[in-house]
Amino acid sequence: MSEKVNLNVNGIEIESDPNKLLIEACEDSGIHIPRFCWHKRLDPVGMCRMCLVEVETPRGKMLVPSCTTEVSDEMVVDTESDVVKKAQEGVLEFLLINHPLDCPICDKAGECPLQDQTMAYGPGESRFVEEKRHFEKPINISEIILLDRERCILCARCTRFSDEISGDPLIEFIQRGNKTEVNTFPNEPFKSYFSGNTVQICPVGALTSTSYRFKARPWDLKSTRSTCNGCSMGCSIELNSSQNKMLRILGVDNDAVNQGWLCDKGRYNFEYLNSDSRLKTPLKKIDNELVEIEIQEVYSELSEVIKDRQTKVTFLLGSNLTNEDYVAFREFSEIISQSEKSFYLNDDKLHPGLFGENVELAKIDDLNSSDAIVVWAEDLKEKIPVLYLRIRQAVKNGVKLVVFGHTNETLSDIADVFYGKETVSENFEIVKDISKLKEIKDLVIGKNITAILGKSTPHQSDTSVTKLFEFLNSNSNSKVLNAYSKGNTYGALQTLENVKGLNNFVNDISEENTDLLFIVGADPIGRSVYSNQIKSIIEGLDTVVALDNFNHETSELANFLIPMSSTLGEKEGTFTNIEFRTSRIDKLVPSPGQTVSDWEFITSLMNFSGLTVETNSLESLNKKAYENLDYSLSPVFDNLDKPSNLDGMVNISKPKISSSDNNSNEAKFFIGEKLYGDSTTERHSDSISLLGSKKYIEVSEGVVEKYNLTSGKCTLIQDELEVTVSYEVNKSFPNDLIYIPTNRRELNKFDFSREIMIIPSVVKEALNVN
């Protein structure tokens, strides 16, 4: 590390790393310089001139923008001189020339940097009497983002974000000078998985979201810090509510994780909390009708079930639970069932992962410090969006990127090498000798590697990935980030032993080994590719208890349906992310009706049944989760709530997973999930449901030929099931590969181990006519 430099700011001596920007060095020493365009996570542009300060130069004092000036040793700076103040007043007067007097109807008012800095540094009055420039008031630049160009101060934060960070520059400055505006290309909306970030970083109310527009005033908001459980990234978030209604989620800058950014799904998929369709009372199935009952009745009926038998209990757990919930189920199962514990996670692709003794696990930050990143996993942009941003960031900083197909094609744009159909077969096996691949020799052998590895599709064999890992491990200094993508999977893996996935559930479970099935926060019939098998299993069981936010295809089959509080904003607890970083989940709004937390339900059931439990409070469950760790290092509430631990605590431990391959290894289909689908929560979140869950498939050129596809649409047929979809041709797919996104209703209902007929749609319509 190079030496520090010393500078004098406002008469105070401060120290800074060299190469830092003056504005940042001052900030780090507690001296605030006002700014609009500069943002810590974006390249500086010097657009707004709000950050002018006086610096002594050989030619006397000069005004320089502190956001584009690097510190140097013995620099003498004044950020508060009369000249600086005059400059700030001038800049603000200019900015306000065209800024409308919209504050009373503007979402940003109250937390607006333009308002605040005008109060603090502004001139008090304007000399401008001419007409301001006018634009059509907000225009929709996407389904969920609105742009008011009159309010825009042209700081280029949004355009830089979309170019530098998310890599989908669909908004830009158009025109020049006084006519400059931000806009999209006609008919090319700002369709980005990360668009909500621009709303958050816009320093005025020019960019707003349909979700939060006109909903509240910042001074009415209650807020708390929490963790997003949308995927295994676990981004740090701030929850905002007003009048007990969740209204907004903001990204919090957690340097190790999301650095302030969120994906739009994480940001907007809270809207279901306020849905009228939420389950609010316990239901019991009587003569095939769900009728309301008291929760006490549920407890008493279930305690009969537990008492009467040496109960064989199976748990099918979703990934949206807290660690404390998982521990509660574990404790329950330990007391109740003598037989082997059987926990199944709601994941089609759960595989043993790479946790062996020879594996060194990576942290997210390792992406930045390695020589190269090797990716072979599910599509990260779709499944762990902010991890995709972190990869982009690393590549921008010069880290090499090697991507194996057929997933993660979006990364191929920035990858140094993308191994497509020549290297990876349609069964997702690497068909070439890895050591002979030329680029691997150059980029990987002998280097520091971070490998992001996981299953690309449920039918991919575990060994294919292991082989790649073994090659990397013996030829480079590699660390592994296991890419399980769903919510709190890592929390479940850490708290429960020997978990399995749905792939094993369908083979293992039958009425012989299960008297009582708990399905918690999971809709495998609506989502899983094993939908049909799971359905017939559940239908054959005696007692099924579902805990969920909504009634859905799976919970419909339950004997008891318990309304669950949402982990997002309605519960307290902890969450563990992809790098085993545990952070706080916090509660901000009351959960509706008679909803309960999962741990509360299961603990009450035990109490009711007269079973003694020591873990009868949230705190005790939280402590229980980490009892094997040194207390001071464990992510218990007391430690997590310390200011120094708000970003979470990492406690890497290698879980044991018993999941094994499903035999059907002749993958005809490449099954994946898109970011947006039509799960129950998504359908009840207005913003997300607008973003579309179009039914479509991707096909190789070979498939187009084979089935004579011409019209852009085709129909998939298997037994009784017929689904018409549009198709897109993917030239990088091998021979017969067909990609089917299964987080769309109906598409997951096919049996992918058998043939599916594909008929071009025109022909089919013709048939119908005859």
């Binding site: 520059p169 400055f173 158009i174 025109q175 020049r176």
Partner: protein
């Protein structure tokens, strides 16, 4: 793609001249303009695919420079210089007269699509101020009267090609750098991409 093979071939030739595809953006926009007389959204789509950036990024560049026209121009684009040397030499009167004759405000095109008028910044003919361009062919030392005559001539004879030398002879006055400018193709040159407009005669 709305570009024909010939144009695409030209475009690819231009792109090859640059180490980065997107550096060819400027010349490609000129090429687009030589096709339609302005930068159409279709052309923007073609260019964005050719150089691998988004359409709005191309649009951003094309709308930044005022010499990339955003709307179709009339058959004759009249650019009268309003910068300092010309201003000192009475260009404001030239501007007034041309506007009077054509009835056009700045950047407007008449209904017959014959004239587009624009008052522009220095066109590099200060020595022969005041200067006027017709489809980027420069005429120097233009008096207000001659400006009218030039317009009248264009309106009456509607020549399919306009050539700087010819107009200079008939409507121009003192010329700068007679000794230097041998190139009679006006503001355009033979650099690939910097195509002459369709109405301009190809240099012999």
């Amino acid at each position: 793609m709305s570009w024909d093979d010939k144009l695409l071939k030209q475009a690819k030739k231009i792109i090859k001249l640059y180490p980065q595809k997107r550096s060819a953006l400027g010349p490609l926009l000129h090429l687009a303009q030589s096709k339609d007389g302005y930068i159409s959204d279709d052309s923007i789509t073609v260019i964005s695919e050719l150089v691998g950036i988004t359409e709005v990024q191309v649009k951003s560049v094309s709308t930044f420079y005022s010499m990339y026209k955003q709307e179709p121009t009339g058959k004759y684009l009249l650019s009268v210089c309003k910068s300092i040397s010309c201003e000192i030499n009475n260009s404001s009167e030239v501007i007034n007269k041309v506007q009077e004759f054509t009835g056009l405000n700045n950047n407007e095109t008449d209904e017959e699509e014959l004239f587009t008028f624009e008052a522009v910044e220095c066109i590099g003919a200060c020595g022969g101020a005041p200067a006027v361009q017709v489809n980027y062919e420069t005429v120097e030392g233009v008096t207000p009267e001659n400006a009218i005559n030039l317009c009248k001539w264009l309106k009456e004879t509607k020549p399919d090609v306009v050539v700087a030398d010819e107009m200079q002879e008939n409507f121009g006055g003192i010329k700068s750098f007679d000794w230097a400018i041998q190139d009679n193709s006006g503001a355009t040159s033979t650099a690939p991409g910097f195509q002459t407009l369709k109405t301009t005669k190809v240099k012999k």
